[in-house]
Subunit: 190 residues, 2 copies
């Protein structure tokens, strides 16, 4: 079968899904073979090993997230107007029954010092998100204001990614976000 290959996009999507739900360690090759439809040998030829498939899954997820964030920001006049809607969608997400936080956040916390390379990879992707917010804030803020606001936004995003895992109280989260991020352009209906 020289040349013809499986659909890498679909394989990464299902692998990402498995790793996201179960975590890196708890996802067995058996599960990955089941979910991707690939045979063990094919996975090892294409990705080297389980860690290789995990790394590509992380990249796939991060790339999608950043693209999605950029597209969302482009729809608004300012990041201050975009963020309330972004946070609302995060809260909605967290109320769904099959919610499993953010793949990057979960991976960041699962990986140990023995997996430095992978962990740094995740850190880098998370920093990219913060950089995107930072750059956006620079339009209407001084550099130090923009930096503090970007970090504060990240803290709140991380907070929701954890908080949403054990609580379903939408109003409580919205009130807390309005309290912690009063400088955002919250609208009445939020």
């Amino acid at each position: 079968m020289a040349r013809i290959q499986f659909d890498k996009e679909k394989v990464l999507e299902s692998a990402t899904n498995a790793f996201w739900r179960l975590g890196y360690t708890a996802t067995s090759m058996h599960t990955l073979v089941e979910q991707t439809g690939l045979k063990p040998g094919s996975i090892y030829l294409a990705f080297g090993n389980k860690e290789g498939l995990f790394r590509e899954s992380l990249d796939y997820y991060a790339h999608q997230s950043l693209d999605n964030l950029e597209a969302t920001l482009a729809q608004y006049n300012s990041v201050e107007e975009a963020l309330p809607d972004i946070f609302m969608s995060f809260i909605e997400e967290s109320c769904q029954s099959e919610y499993c936080s953010c793949f990057l956040v979960k991976s960041q916390l699962e990986l140990t010092d023995q997996q430095t390379e992978l962990r740094d990879h995740v850190s880098q992707q998370l920093r990219r998100v913060e950089s995107l917010y930072f750059e956006s804030f620079l339009k209407n803020n001084t550099e130090s204001e923009a930096r503090a606001k970007a970090t504060s936004v990240m803290l709140h995003i991380f907070g929701i990614r954890v908080y949403g895992y054990h609580s379903n109280s939408k109003e409580q989260l919205i009130d807390a976000l309005r309290l912690g991020l009063p400088w955002l352009s919250w609208k009445a209906e939020h």
Copy 2:
């Protein structure tokens, strides 16, 4: 050897340490046998199984954390004065090389729907922390203010527990906390 037993406190401390660093799935019974000094049979007699030891480790950690928090709050006139120091110690913690976030937060994110019992257990412990803050805020705030402030504090704590895993910039975190929690009694030296 009827009656005489191993030091449960020490066993739980080392088990907690292993689970905290490596996570539930990645901590093998072999590691636990090594770290606790107990033989497999003793662990199974005392804790039933790996999950039992994990649950008791979670309780051990949560109990310590809550005791510690209560003791800290007692040293201050108000929770608003205590929190800046508490947050500063969280930030200091997160800058240490062997930092591995908060055991409860990590566990919360690792556990899946298949481990509902364990996950609910962790959620309950986290809610206890929030309740403690809520009760403290009630002294100087209306109920709805106190609730929003307690949730906001939890979001920031969770945020640091994740953020601290990939960044070492103390100043940046402090600026973000001052921005997100301006109603706390921050002192000049913070």
